[in-house]
Symmetry: C2
Subunit: 222 residues, 2 copies
């Protein structure tokens, strides 16, 4: 698929705008684990996911993290272009969760198009609103849902994403995804183990009873 | 001040667009406590705050609330026009915290302008990004800051907003602002009282030691 097929506003650009964009888009191969956007330290511009999986996350000074959203094939990462928007006053980072192939539009190129073209600007608004919705969902989870249901939902989601019931995740990694502390996650996993929902081994969590996990997860499943 | 003086994109509209907007803007007087936008049940369109104060908040099925952001004179409330954006997938409500005078632009009118005009669309993106930033600040607070500092910051902020150290607020109202439970707020206020920072009376909290409250609030003061 060509890069412009990912961009619904493409047919509404002028010939010059199309050429300008085509001349500046670049293709990148990124390895699992690599941080492709790092808070306020860079402004790489919008990224189009051709293959792979990205996660956007925020972090505290004390090294705690929380996963804010995930992006899959055909998704466009807009918060990696945060410098284009004066009102976006927060730092997030974006990491490759799998090996990725990405198209990148440099921030100044995208910004110029956004200022000229109402379709590009409206598309941007929708992207921001979509990420905003992800964060509102997370806030709702943190405020109103118990950690047991959030943890169960996370485990079920990971099993689906990776098509396996054997999850290679440390308790620390899970705590980072959920914005919780490692000790709290370990305690809850041990409780799940006594309930025969999971089996904990070094570096691996095996999901034993998906029905029971789904029942605990209920409200937290998206 | 005329309504168009609040809208930075006004000079960039065509004569027809200006006339179309001017014919459709309406002025409203709203009483303190009134809910001006109620989740997915209505879509009033953007609201311009001429006088007064609005708060945007989300709520759970169980009746818990959290204040997401506040809007003051010259601010524009865009999430009361959530139906204009397909990707905005969450419900919030907006309430008048003081008696308000508001200009209202009907959602279909604003949407038409946004689709035609890049300046209007880009302005909308900035407004959404600004509210998104408010919510990210709140998320950071909830995840990484302790309730004592959040409560102290809230009390100091209320004192400044209302220009008084005698706050007429119930513990339940404070819990709603902070997304916490009433019992937790009551416990913390009692601790503040033993530390001689506040004096609790029926329906009124008197702030006795602003310096000490500010010290506790530190990271949570905006």
């Amino acid at each position: 698929m060509e890069f412009y097929e990912y961009l619904p506003f493409w047919p509404k650009l002028t010939r010059e705008q199309q050429q300008f964009l085509a001349q500046n888009v670049t293709l990148h191969h990124v390895t699992k684990g690599e941080v492709v956007h790092n808070g306020s330290e860079d402004c790489v511009g919008p990224l189009i996911v051709v293959h792979g999986q990205l996660r956007g996350y925020s972090f505290s000074d004390e090294g705690r993290e929380v996963t804010l959203y995930r992006l899959f094939e055909r998704d466009v990462c807009i918060l990696s272009a945060y410098c284009m928007l004066n009102s976006l006053q927060f730092d997030i980072s974006v990491q490759a969760e799998k090996d990725c192939v990405l198209y990148r539009i440099p921030a100044p190129v995208y910004k110029k198009l956004m200022q000229e073209s109402a379709p590009v600007a409206n598309y941007t608004t929708e992207l921001i609103a979509s990420r905003f919705s992800d964060v509102m969902w997370l806030l709702d989870q943190i405020l109103y849902k118990h950690l047991d249901s959030r943890l169960a939902a996370f485990l079920v989601g990971e099993a689906q994403l990776n098509d396996t019931t054997e999850l290679r995740l440390t308790h620390e990694e899970i705590a980072h995804h959920l914005g919780s502390a490692r000790e709290v996650v370990t305690r809850m996993l041990k409780y799940f183990q006594t309930e025969k929902m999971v089996l904990i081994a070094r570096g691996c969590i095996t999901l034993l009873d998906m029905d029971k996990l789904r029942a605990v997860a209920k409200d937290s499943l998206r």
